[in-house]
């Protein structure tokens, strides 16, 4: 790997780590489970890597097969993860007015 690219990647990594920490550090316990489910869905981003493996490797049948399994697994994670999160969050929707004081109370 070219050193300049590596350094840029490390920058991206460090800043993203910092952001992840900052954004999440004040979440009410009420939202812990949906948030876990949502980050689970986001971790399905390895789908991007799977797509490259399944389609972009030249003359590599074994990589294509592995990639196919990886794409399937990652898509299950993405679709399943978002579906589950959606169902969890739907339960907040109906009682918005009541959910708010609960969140405050739970955060104490």
């Amino acid at each position: 790997m070219n050193p300049a690219v590596l350094i840029a990647s490390v920058y991206v990594f460090a800043l993203a780590a910092f952001l992840g920490y900052q954004v999440i550090s004040r979440v009410p316990p009420l939202l812990h489970t949906p948030l876990m489910s949502a980050t689970n869905a986001i971790s399905g981003i390895s789908l991007i890597g799977s797509l490259v493996l399944a389609g972009a490797m030249k003359n590599q049948p074994s990589a294509h097969i592995l990639g196919f399994v990886a794409v399937t697994a990652a898509t299950i994670n993405v679709v399943g993860g978002f579906g589950i999160t959606d169902r969890m969050l739907k339960m907040f929707g109906k009682r918005k007015a009541e959910a708010k004081p609960d969140a405050k109370e739970a955060a104490k």
Partner: protein
Amino acid sequence: MSLTSYFMEATYLIASILFILALKGMSHPETARRGMFMAEAGMLAAIVGTLVGTEIVTWVWIIAGLTLGSAIGAWMAVSVPMTAMPQRTALSHAFGALAAALVGVGEFLVHAQEMTVVTRGALGFEVMLGALTTTGSLIAAGKLQGFIAGKPIQFRGQNAVNLAVALAMIGCFVYFWIHPENVAVFYTMLGMAFVFGIMLVIPIGSADMPVVMSLLNSYAGLAAAATGFVLQNNVLIIAGTLDGFSGFILSVLMCKAMNRSITNVLFGGFGSVIAEAGSATAGGVMREISLDDAAMQLAFANRVVFVPGYGLATAQAQHACRELGELLECAACGGQRSLLRALRDGTDQSRVSFYRCGRGHRRQRRSKSRCARQSQVTDRGHADSGS
């Protein structure tokens, strides 16, 4: 760079921003759903960008994988009852981690010999974290579902075995880093990581699984970030790292909410329980009682402990539970008369005090009890026969 690559990088940038906004939105109840839609949009943007920007040789496997995965994923999300959500999350997680590990193996098959030292290190991390998260999540799902005993599974010399597995895995990793030509070592590392994932989760009780899942989530995120380093793909690095660190912080927050430290959750099972394993009577017997019996018992109880669980949240019974608590509390400090007044006026005259004790969110209330309020407790619609 060609035009399509520019397009791909642009979508990656948009996707990254959307992921950040999504996490931000997820941390407030009002904006949580919007946040989730942003994450979905980000994921879609990243997928479209990748398909446009990379030179795809064969579409067959991609389309087959996407279709099959969507079908199974949608079925998993829709079919599951609300009470079984945690284990489905764990299961879906195992798939994501498996994908990361497989991408690593694929990269190894194709490019192992021409990789630089840094890329090889990232590849090793990716495969290790992906593999151990896969089996760890499967065990977590099994424990929550009840396929595997929910209580901590422990045996003599567990620490030594775990340490040996971990060292073997790391040893293989280092050897692979220096000598990439040895294929057997790479696969031994993979196998060891699978075993280590199991060893990591079995000594933890199923009540602590959410914390473990959040932590495994963090590992899967870091595995995706490592994939980003291998493929030199920024959206993988950003989304993976965001996920990795927010997952870690989230597991720390969850521990705090339970009044426990994360080391206690992860390693609390080790050692301490072995001593009392012989005499421990975990489980007990569940007794089902009728509504009237429950009211009677509550009315005569000196101490009442509420242990809200996931089922209570699913039934959306938080408010009902709180009202019940307030009723008991009223009775405890003001006696029967004030309880009745409170019921009539619809206000509570006594301050409700919550305090947490021991493990989990137990809310404890004492009530000096008289039999009078049994009917109010049963349900507020009935006549106040007891008074």
